[in-house]
């Protein structure tokens, strides 16, 4: 698993550097200017953006024979899939920490711009749920439909995740339902991907 984590981290790091620079600039703006709308977008983009970057690991593997090569390394197929899901969780957590620090700094300087604390946590829930749902859809679909369509499926998965979040969030107890659904989807997606990947031939 150590090799898989190193591999995933290197693959994500190649893409994420530019995104982090952008988020850093956006973060500075959010700290300086206390604006609720800016903060909302910053939270959602920060968390979901890192999850999207993490998901591109799969694409980068199939631009060379590395995806096939990994199968002859001393790792099980289930561990390859597990490492992808853990990689998603890792970067979503990193996103939550990153936006958390920026929002905390902004609140320290200017106070809480949201009308109530639930406002901030609600936006964080949306960011996490979009990320989990997007990952839950994208990973099995990409193994099922082919790695050459990564970008298309990434966009479709992200749009589906945003749609699901928008539908569920405004229901009574929406944040709880949304969180529950996205977590369940993410968990259910793992064995599905494993079963798809076990039959995959390269």
């Amino acid at each position: 698993m150590k090799g898989l984590f190193k591999n995933n981290f290197l693959a994500v790091w190649t893409n994420v550097k530019f995104f982090l620079l952008f988020m850093l600039a956006m973060g500075i703006a959010v700290i300086i200017i206390p604006d609720q709308t800016w903060q909302m977008y910053f939270i959602i983009i920060g968390i979901a953006g890192l999850a999207v970057n993490a998901a591109t690991v799969i694409e980068s593997e199939f631009s060379s024979k590395w995806g096939k090569y990994k199968l002859i390394l001393p790792v099980k197929r289930i561990d390859i899939v597990r490492s992808l899901y853990l990689n998603q969780l890792l970067w979503i957590t990193a996103g939550v920490f990153f936006v958390g620090i920026v929002i905390a700094l902004s609140c320290l300087l200017h106070g809480v711009p949201f009308e109530q604390f639930e406002g901030v946590s609600g936006v964080v829930v949306i960011g996490i749920s979009i990320s989990l749902t997007m990952s839950a859809i994208f990973i099995p679909v990409i193994y099922l439909a082919g790695e050459d369509k990564t970008i298309v499926f990434l966009i479709i998965s992200l749009l589906c995740a945003i749609g699901i979040a928008a539908m569920l969030f405004n229901m009574p107890s929406g944040p709880f339902i949304l969180t529950g659904c996205s977590v369940l989807l993410f968990i259910a997606s793992f064995p599905l991907t494993v079963s798809i990947f076990r039959k995959k031939e390269y």
Binding site: K6, S63, W66, Y202
Partner: protein
């Protein structure tokens, strides 16, 4: 002699494709190099996929180190080094980053040996792989495949598209590798000249079917091509003919016993044949 690799009646069909691998059977003894020859699309990569479990075979058995390898046999994969044709690794990595990743996969990863290979092959450790030439990427793949001390090296068209100097260096590396008696190499290639230099055995495959497996010495010393005129051909004993091919006013006949044929057919010119010529006659020749 014990075998490091054994294939018995391995078959594989692909839905929606006419191609099928049919009952492929061969073995690779310890301490030897087996050349796996076939034209593009003959089934070499499919066979290697079945050996390495990247493709699920429909039937037959593949034994590595005496047992069938499953997905759970990670220890067995520690003992196998593989080189595919083309980009084996993400091109945005450097060799130094690749070494760190590989150290996380292989218990026996030998970074000192890897650095030695980088130096020997003149591969810059901190240059991105995408800036390497094709020869350099293949050398890197071989360095990686050898740096975890494998016993079995599997090379799928690893020497294709390389210039003769680089190819020659690689072949020397394979010969060094099999100096250890528990080491073996499966070298898939359509460059038969390479195999003539290093292989102990040669297996010919065509259209998914195995034509034959034969020792290189047998090919070099016993196989021959008789250059018959059209009027001489009917007089040949059909039992002597493996395949034949008409060429203008001459018929080339592949035979497997050079000395006997020379004695038996004194008025027919009989030449020793190259692996290339034997392969062409096997694939494109007709049977009696």
């Amino acid at each position: 002699m014990e075998n490091i690799l054994e294939l018995q009646q391995v078959s594989k069909r692909f839905p929606g494709s006419d191609f099928a691998l049919e009952n492929v059977t061969f073995s690779l003894p310890y301490g030897s190099i087996l050349g796996f020859v076939g034209e593009n699309g003959a089934g070499k990569t499919t066979t290697i996929g079945c050996i390495l479990n990247t493709i699920t075979k429909d039937s037959g058995t593949v034994k590595l180190f005496g047992k069938e390898m499953t997905d759970a046999d990670t220890d067995m994969r520690e003992k196998i080094g593989v080189v595919y044709d083309g980009d084996n690794f993400p091109v945005y990595w450097t060799a130094a980053q690749l070494a760190k990743v590989m150290a996380g996969f292989y218990k026996q990863w030998d970074n000192i040996l890897f650095q030695k290979f980088l130096k020997e092959y003149k591969l810059p450790a901190n240059q991105k792989i995408k800036q390497y030439s094709r020869g350099m990427t293949m050398k890197l793949a071989i360095a990686v495949a050898l740096s975890h001390h494998p016993q079995l090296l599997i090379l799928d068209e690893a020497t294709g598209g390389l210039d003769p100097v680089v190819r020659d260096g690689m072949l020397d590396t394979f010969l060094d590798f099999v100096q250890e008696e528990d080491h073996s190499v499966l070298l898939s290639s359509h460059i038969t000249g390479d195999l003539e230099k290093v292989a102990d055995y040669i297996t010919f495959i065509h259209n998914g079917k195995l034509i034959m497996t034969v020792s290189k010495n047998d090919l070099v010393y016993n196989y021959a091509v008789m250059r018959c005129r059209e009027n001489q051909f009917p007089a040949l004993d059909p039992a002597d003919i493996i395949t034949y091919r008409k060429r203008d006013f001459q018929i080339d006949v592949l035979v497997s016993d050079y000395k006997t044929m020379q004695r038996k057919y004194k008025d027919i010119v009989t030449d020793r044949a190259s692996v290339d010529e034997i392969f062409l006659l096997l694939v494109r020749g007709e049977h009696v």
